[in-house]
Amino acid sequence: MSEMTYAEAVRSALAIAMEQDERVFLMGEDVGTYGGAFGVTGDLIHRMGAQRIRDTTISELGIVGMGVGAAMTGMRPVVEIQFSDFSAQAMDQIANQAAKIHFMLGGAVSVPLVIRAPGGSGTGAAAQHSQSLEAWFTHVPGLKVVMPATADDAKGLLLAAIDDPNPVVVLEHKLLYRTSGPVREGAERTPLGVAAVPRRGTDLTIVATGVQVSRSLEAAEQLAQEGIEATVVDPRTLKPLDEETIAAEAIATGRVLLVQEAVRTLGFMSEVAALLSEGEAFVHLKAPIRRLTGLDVPIPYAPQLERAVVPQVEDIVAAAQTLVREW
């Protein structure tokens, strides 16, 4: 284990994948000399060369589409969408091409493409640079979707995504880039489709994604001081989803709080709630499933407004208290 930031962990995974497999290369806006808008690629261009760390024009549709073409023909491209919001520009290539080609062609080819995209609010970048769009991608059959919440998973999930023969969307969170944590040495993978349970308690089960995982863990610490013990589940991969772990942890406490930064309506946690309601967990629940989500509004600019529209630690604490006390 060594301590590194989430951004360094992503960079480390990219470097390892490129060293291990000459088919792996990177394309994106300002990923070369500039080092990436969030400093993620850093000095990679000096280590790997401009052939493999390719600065593009501002052309998201072209970037992803060329990734699809390269992936279909023997390469292992990793493309970066500078802000996940700009996946909107590239959506045809993501949803209509990358996701469907393997199926439409009867399995004759696959599209081993990784799309990395930072998402999330908290930086004052307002409505077009702050969204949490995981539901868009999770809604499209053919895509795999991961949301690393720790530095170790940022590295491990990315390595697994690059190995995978399918298009994988890796949604990193901007606020996490500078956070650090212990990261396994070498080329250790975090398998896709396996949830993490970073904390276990007896009173309720919090399922959270992205930046809400660390917020939930912080909330759990506060709750523990008043005698409420929470389990925290981080699905890590949204598609394919580790339904078993989520259901088992829900059954173990009988109370479920689902926390996401994304807007409420038809969000990823709506799906988790539906799965739990349909499954065995339902009969073990002591309380209705509760969602704590972003408000159904675009992310506003003003800091006091921006904070108000996505769940904060104190909101998680309050929601958990209500759930445990009232049920």
């Binding site: 806006e29 300002d30 070369g32 000399t33 500039y34 080092g35 808008a37 969030f38 400093g39 600065d55 593009t56 024009t57 501002i58 052309s59 998201e60 549709l61 072209g62 919001d85 700009f86 520009q89 930086t123 004052g124 970048a125 307002a126 409505a127 077009q128 640079h129 408000l295 159904d296 509004v297 675009p298 506003p300 600019y301 003003a302 800091p303 006091q304 407004l305 921006e306 108000a308 529209v309």
Partner: protein, 328 residues
């Protein structure tokens, strides 16, 4: 051109200087507030590019439209916005142009025809073409000017909007501010053209490049393109070559360019160049110039103070802010 030069007309020279200084001082104030941690979010400053919006907006009427970009403070000011309401927006105040919801990247003053800055590169290009379509369908002679950066030329949206505008001969001017870089990507490297206005030929529309730090040159090229649009002769591409003095945004380490290059362009300061032209023409005196500078400085100081004192943007009606009200 036989028309009198701006520098030779005291009134127009004064107005031009006021606008350019207003933009520069506004940007400097933003930079300072940001540096002191008093401003949230990110910022894209247009210092060094002031002549472009100043000159272009002089060729427009108040009811003409513009679309703007992430680097949009200059466009907004030049089209006639009030710096105090802009500053209030950036300071997250209820009195800001967007009630604190938009910030720098979405600032807009629709009353003066500014349909908005945009956080999406080339996001405003089809919107400008659409405003031009609307003007022509409504039978007005309004014109839309689409300010965009060189980087926008890489986007599919730019291509599609220009194709449609050309087909329908819409009253729109695509005004490319070529400040040499799209973030770190050099526009020369990106597009392989010595003259970016060569692009226009492939779309069947007129294209011209001008020295974007020469107020008069930008004005003349814009006047011609706007005139053509207003006369129903269709869209044009005007490329104003200029330079961004500051980093792309707060996080730029300038690894992709040299200090010497930046210095070379600072020596081409569009405001200094215009002041020199005014002095040479004998239209205004050095004392006049000094006075204009002072006036703008105190105007901006007041704007910042008043913006600071305004009430903070309120979160209570956020949910009600998403949809327009349906008429009863």
């Amino acid at each position: 051109m036989n028309a009198p030069k701006i520098a030779e007309d005291a009134g127009r020279a004064r107005e031009s200087l006021r606008t350019m200084w207003r933009i520069r001082r506004f940007e400097e104030a933003v930079e300072e507030l940001y540096g002191r941690g008093l401003m949230h979010g990110t910022m894209h400053l247009s210092i060094g590019q002031e002549a472009v919006p100043t000159a272009v907006c002089q060729t427009l009427r108040r009811d003409d439209y513009i679309t703007s970009t992430h680097r949009g403070h200059g466009h907004c000011i030049a089209k006639g916005a009030d710096p105090e309401s802009m500053m209030a927006e950036l300071l997250a105040k209820e009195t800001g142009y967007c009630r604190g919801r938009g910030g720098s990247m979405h600032i807009a003053d629709t009353a003066t025809g500014n349909l908005g800055a945009n956080g999406i590169v080339a996001g405003g290009v089809p919107i400008a073409a659409g405003a031009a379509l609307s003007a022509s369908m409504r039978g007005t002679d309004q014109v839309a000017v689409c300010f965009h950066g060189d980087g926008a030329l890489g986007e599919g949206a730019w291509h599609e909007a220009v194709v449609l505008a050309a087909m329908w001969r819409l009253p729109v001017v695509f005004l490319c501010e070529d400040n040499h870089y799209g973030m770190s990507m050099s526009s020369r490297r990106a597009f392989g053209l010595a003259d970016l206005s060569d692009r226009a030929r492939g779309y069947g529309i007129p294209g011209v490049s001008v020295d974007g730090n020469d107020l008069q040159a930008v004005h003349d090229a814009a006047a011609e393109a706007v005139g053509r649009a207003r006369a129903g002769e269709g869209p044009s591409l005007v490329v104003a070559t200029t330079y961004r003095w500051r980093g792309h945004s707060k996080s730029d380490k300038n690894l992709y360019r040299t200090r010497e290059e930046i210095e070379e362009w600072r020596a081409q300061d569009p405001i200094v160049r215009f002041e020199r032209a005014v002095l040479e023409a004998g239209t205004l005196t050095a004392t006049d110039l000094e006075q204009i500078g002072q006036e703008v400085r105190s105007e901006l100081r007041t704007a910042v103070q008043r913006a600071h004192a305004a009430p903070d943007a309120r979160p209570d009606d956020l949910l009600e802010s998403v949809y327009a009200e349906v008429d009863a």
